[in-house]
Symmetry: C2
Subunit: 305 residues, 2 copies
C-alpha cells in the first residue's frame, strides 16, 4: 500500500479514500460502480492549487489592466485600473470570497480585463503569463504551487477508471491552458466560470471572440451543479472542495445513487501553506453532519507543493 498515495500520511483521510476506491472498483462489492459512472469533480482554487493571497487569475488580470491603462490613461478613473497601476493589492485582496468578497464581482473584473480579444489570443497570453509569473510569498512559479498530494489523487483516480473533472470557480479557459501539464486533466474536463463567446465569420473562417459579460451562473455554489450538468450530464460520485462555494457540489455527490465520497480540504497549515477557515464555515459544519471527509493539510499530507 506504500506506493499508492505516497504523499499522504497513514491517517483516516487516506484510509477513507483507499477504502472507497477499493470498494467501488471491485465487481464483487455491493458498492461497485461501472466505469461510465465513475465521475470525480475537483474544485480548483484552494483545492488543487494555492488561492492565497488571491486567486492566481487576479494577478493575470492586473497585468492586463496595467497594459490597458497605459494605452488609455482615461481608464485610471476606474478603481480597478487605478489599483492595478498603483500596486494597491489590498483592493483586489478584499474581493476574495474568503474575506467577505463576492466571487461574482471578482470574476467580473477578471473577465472584463480580457473582453473583446479572440479566444486564441487569450489562451496564448494566459499560457505565457503562467510560464513566468511567480507567487509573491513563495517566489516560485504559480503553476508549481499545485498541491502534490491532490495531483497524486487525480492520477490515482484516473488509474482506477475515474473520469476526473475540474470545477473551478475561476475562469475555465485560464485553467485549460495548463490543466494537462499540471494536473493531467484534459481541457475538455475543465469546467469553470465563463465569459460569453461569440463567433465572427471572417474571410479566413470562423473566429471565436470573448464578449463583455459573465455567463450566468458563475461556477460557484449553486452554479457548480448547473455546470456539472452542462459539461458532464451525470452526478459525480466523488467530489473535493475547500470552501462554502463547494457546498452544493459536495452534497451533489451524495445524490448520485452510488456510494459517494465528499472530501473537504482544510487549510490549517500556516507554516507550509496558509491557515484559514473563513469562507468555509458552513461547509465544515455540513461535513460533520453529512459524513464528509475533512482533509487536514497539516496532518494528512507529507508534502504540500
Amino acid at each position: 500500500m506504500s506506493e499508492i498515495l505516497s504523499l499522504w500520511n497513514e491517517t483516516p483521510a487516506k484510509k477513507a479514500i483507499l477504502n472507497y476506491v477499493n470498494a467501488i472498483t471491485n465487481p464483487d462489492n455491493a458498492d461497485f460502480v461501472p466505469e461510465a459512472e465513475r465521475i470525480a469533480i475537483m474544485d480548483n482554487d484552494g483545492t488543487m492549487w494555492v488561492e492565497k493571497p488571491a486567486y492566481i487569475q487576479i494577478f493575470f488580470a492586473i497585468e492586463r489592466l496595467k497594459q490597458l491603462a497605459e494605452a488609455d490613461p482615461e481608464l485610471l478613473n476606474q478603481p480597478g485600473f487605478k489599483a492595478a497601476v498603483t500596486g494597491d493589492m489590498a483592493y483586489f485582496f478584499k474581493l476574495d470570497p474568503h474575506t467577505g468578497g463576492s466571487v461574482k464581482e471578482l470574476m467580473k473584473i477578471i473577465f472584463d480585463s480580457h473582453a473583446g480579444m479572440s479566444q486564441d489570443n487569450f489562451m496564448l497570453i494566459a499560457k505565457e503569463f503562467l510560464k513566468t509569473a511567480r507567487h509573491p510569498r513563495f517566489g516560485v512559479l504559480f503553476k508549481d504551487l499545485t498541491y502534490k498530494p491532490m495531483v497524486e489523487l487525480v492520477r490515482y483516480l484516473g488509474n482506477n477508471g475515474f473520469k476526473v473533472f475540474l470545477a473551478s470557480g475561476g475562469g475555465m479557459s485560464f485553467m485549460r491552458t495548463v490543466s494537462e501539464e499540471i494536473y493531467n486533466i484534459p481541457r475538455e474536463r475543465v469546467i469553470g466560470s465563463n465569459i460569453a463567446f461569440e463567433t465572427r465569420l471572417t474571410d479566413e473562417g470562423p473566429v471565436v471572440f470573448r464578449k463583455l459579460g459573465l455567463v450566468d451562473p458563475i461556477d460557484d455554489g449553486p452554479g457548480k451543479p448547473v455546470n456539472i450538468e452542462l459539461h458532464i450530464g451525470r452526478k459525480p460520485i466523488l467530489a473535493a472542495g475547500n470552501s462554502d462555494g463547494d457546498l452544493h457540489m459536495l452534497w451533489l455527490a451524495q445524490k448520485s445513487g452510488h456510494r459517494s465520497l465528499s472530501l473537504l480540504l482544510r487549510h490549517d497549515d500556516a507554516k507550509r501553506e496558509y491557515a484559514y477557515d473563513e469562507g468555509s464555515e458552513k461547509t465544515l459544519q455540513m461535513a460533520e453532519e453529512r459524513g464528509w471527509v475533512v482533509i487536514s493539510m497539516k496532518d494528512d499530507w507529507k508534502t504540500v507543493f
Copy 2:
C-alpha cells in the same frame, strides 16, 4: 482493408477518410497529430440519425404539449398546443430549418414544453420516449434510425485515438439519454442546444431544474464554434455535418493548425432515406470551394439504417 468501414462502398469518400486517418495517426507522417488533439465533431440530426419529416425531439415535445393541454385546456389558445392536440403536423414541419424554418424558434417550442421540471425527471421521460416512439414512415424505433455507416465511423475514429464529440443543433440532454447506447459516445461528449438550468437547495440536497428560456447561442451555425470552445477548448481536426447549420463547424476544422477533414453528408437517397438539398445549399457550394468531402448517402453507403 475490407473490415474497416465495412458499411462503406469503395468510393473516393471512404478512401479520403482512410487516407486521412492513416496519415494523422502515423508518427512518421509529416501530418501526424498527437492524441490529445485528435478531436472529431459530428452534427447529430441528419448526420448521425434521421431528421425527416422533422427533428425527432419534435415528436417528444408534441407528446408533452398534449399532456399539458389535457391538464389545462386554456393552453389550446396557443397555436403550438393546438397543433399538438389536433395532430396538425404541418404546423411543426414548417418550422424545420430545411424548409425555411428557424432552428431557434423550433428549439424554443421544444424546450418550453419541458421547462420547470427537474433535470432528472426530464432525462427519465426522454429516455422512456425513445424506448417506444416510432418513426411515422419507417415504423421502427426512432433510436434505431441511426446511420450505421456513421456509427461505424465514430467507432473507427475512437479506435484511432480520436475523442469523438456530438454537436447537436437539437437539445443536448435529450441526446445524452441515448448517446452511449446508440453511438458509443459518452454523455460528457454530447454538445447541443440548451435550456437554462438552475440549482435549488432542498432539504434532500441540491436539485437541478430546467428553467424557461433558451441558452444563447443555440448550437447551430455560429453557435457551434462557441459551444465547441465551451465544451472542448480545442478546434476539431475532423468535422461532419449535413446542412448550413454546420458550415461554421466544418470550416473551423480547417483552422485547427493540423491537417483536417471536413465531411458533408448529402441526402440523395429518396429510396432508402430522403433526398433534399434545401437548407444545405451554401455548405454544398462551400464544400467545393474549400475541398470538403461530400458523402453521397446513395453512392457511398452499403446500408443506411
